[in-house]
Amino acid sequence: MSKAVVAPARKYKRKSRFKEIWRRMKKNKLSMVGLCVFALFVAMIIFADLIVPYRIALEQNVWEQFAPPSVEHLLGMDQYGRDIFARVIHGSRNSLLMGIAAVFVGMIIGGTLASLAGYYGGKVDMVIMRISDTIFCIPFMLMGLSIVAALGPGLINVLIAITITAIPNYVRIIRSAILTIVGNDFIEAGRACGASDIFIILKHVAPNAVGPIIVQATMQVGTMIIFSTAFSYLGLGIQPPAPEWGAMLAEGKSYMLSAPHMIIAPGMSIVLVALSLNLLGDGLRDALDPKLKD
């Protein structure tokens, strides 16, 4: 063995990788804005009870129905005289968690299925893709409704329904990303090193597919919040009087012309969350891709 000058063994990183990603993220100003806005929402979820007690979000005040924004009620009142500010704050818990959880779980399941389909091909691919095609064929709402109808209304069941109906979408997108990677020589080289299939999928295939997955995931959070709204609107999702952005939007729709503040607050919240996540996702994708490293 050569005894060539070997640099003194330095402590090997792991930590520095995150530092590196962080350093590259910081360069992208827009994505930092996204991160800040998103962090605000997360803080809102965590400290909701400290900002406004939950009681206020439910309290009805008949004399102040449809009251426009004022100093006492920052975002005004809704048709039952409930404080919209409090409802938006507490609604974030349901809406945001629902959106993020649906995408997260869906991406994990969809990503696993897509990796198997893309990596093994042949029969495995055939079975997974045909099943996902079948789910794809059934109209989204119908599919979701039947699942909720079977499981009964409620937050968790709606979550399950929207996750399942969205999975085929993820499977398709991720599989196509994976197919372009599987053909590469380094996959073959990995096999020639004696790596197992699972090792190759996790270490060599997945990191290369991260770009499209992150972009897709961040775009989907907003969509998922809106979709869960539809269930609340039909009375299958979160049960009133619990606050939820989608449901608030649906209620406010009827009074859109006379009391626009009712839909502006929850609507803006959804837009802000979706936008901040998109910006964040864009920045993350760039930061995670070493090829774009300067």
Binding site: M1, S2, A4, V5, V6, A7, A9, Y12, K13, G121, G122, N184, D185, F186, E188, A189, G190, R191, A192, C193, G194, A195, S196, F199, K203, H204, P207, N208, V210, D289, P290, K291, K293
Partner: protein, 325 residues
Amino acid sequence: MLEKLLEIKDLSVVYHTDEAHVYAVNAINLEIGARETIGLVGETGAGKTTTALAILRLLPEKTGHITQGEILFKGEDLLKKSKREMRGIRGAHISMIFQDPMTSLNPTITVGDQIYESLLIHNYEGKPRDELYKRVDELLELVGIPARRRKDYPHQFSGGMKQRVVISIALACQPQLLIADEPTTALDVTIQAQVLAMMYDLKEKLQTSMIMITHDLGVVAQTCDKVAIMYAGEIIEFGLAEDIFESDQHHPYTTGLFGSIPDLDIEADRLNPIEGLMPDPTALPCGCKFHPRCKLCMEICKTTLPPQWHEGDHMISCHLYSREK
């Protein structure tokens, strides 16, 4: 005679596709002794890479089938090993260098981690991480890359350096057999010479056997002890490097190969290629596979498989020589 490390006996590989059966390798025999370098030479499509992949059992599962033969590695038949056992062999005992260094490294992982990975997979003694990383540094220095570049990504390396990284991955676990599949084809001539010289040094230092797959006779002359010339999935000539490069007796195909190399001393306007193309591997000709292109073709060549003519280690499979005898 050195002890035999790898013996290929009567190996045939067929690719089954929807349209046709491709006879890629047809009953080849090959022996590799410890610390020997064998050059596997032939045109594109002669079955060189297929042979290499068959040794590692990495043929595409759905289409590539080994129809007959044995591949004995240290006396054990690789074709009878389970998938798990094969994984233990790949990388640790037999490793492979691929043709194109640009695509055989994962662009999202640092080169240090990619070398580390191959150590980690075969880390049966459970050595601590620090020790493995020290070995990564050693390996990088071994192939002439400063250890501090361990944290760089493949795109920050030049082609030649990438190939060095690939070589250090292949050598990480000190395999007894290294299969180099056209390791220098993607590199320019200067770098090619450097990389070859380095590979030769390392091979000597680590006492590894090597199968050098190439279509470049110059590379073979520089590095190999023995040479096997492949044509249409068969080994048509085999011998020590001296037999191939200095002897007067050759298979007409080998003669053609040498004839197609331009001579520095003679002025010529055109190269002298071998007329015609490789036969379609889905419909190989009867008799000698080379007869449609052979200038010395006889009637018997069209019907009968040529016998093997031996002289010492030199083997030629051609009717011309059986006649003389």
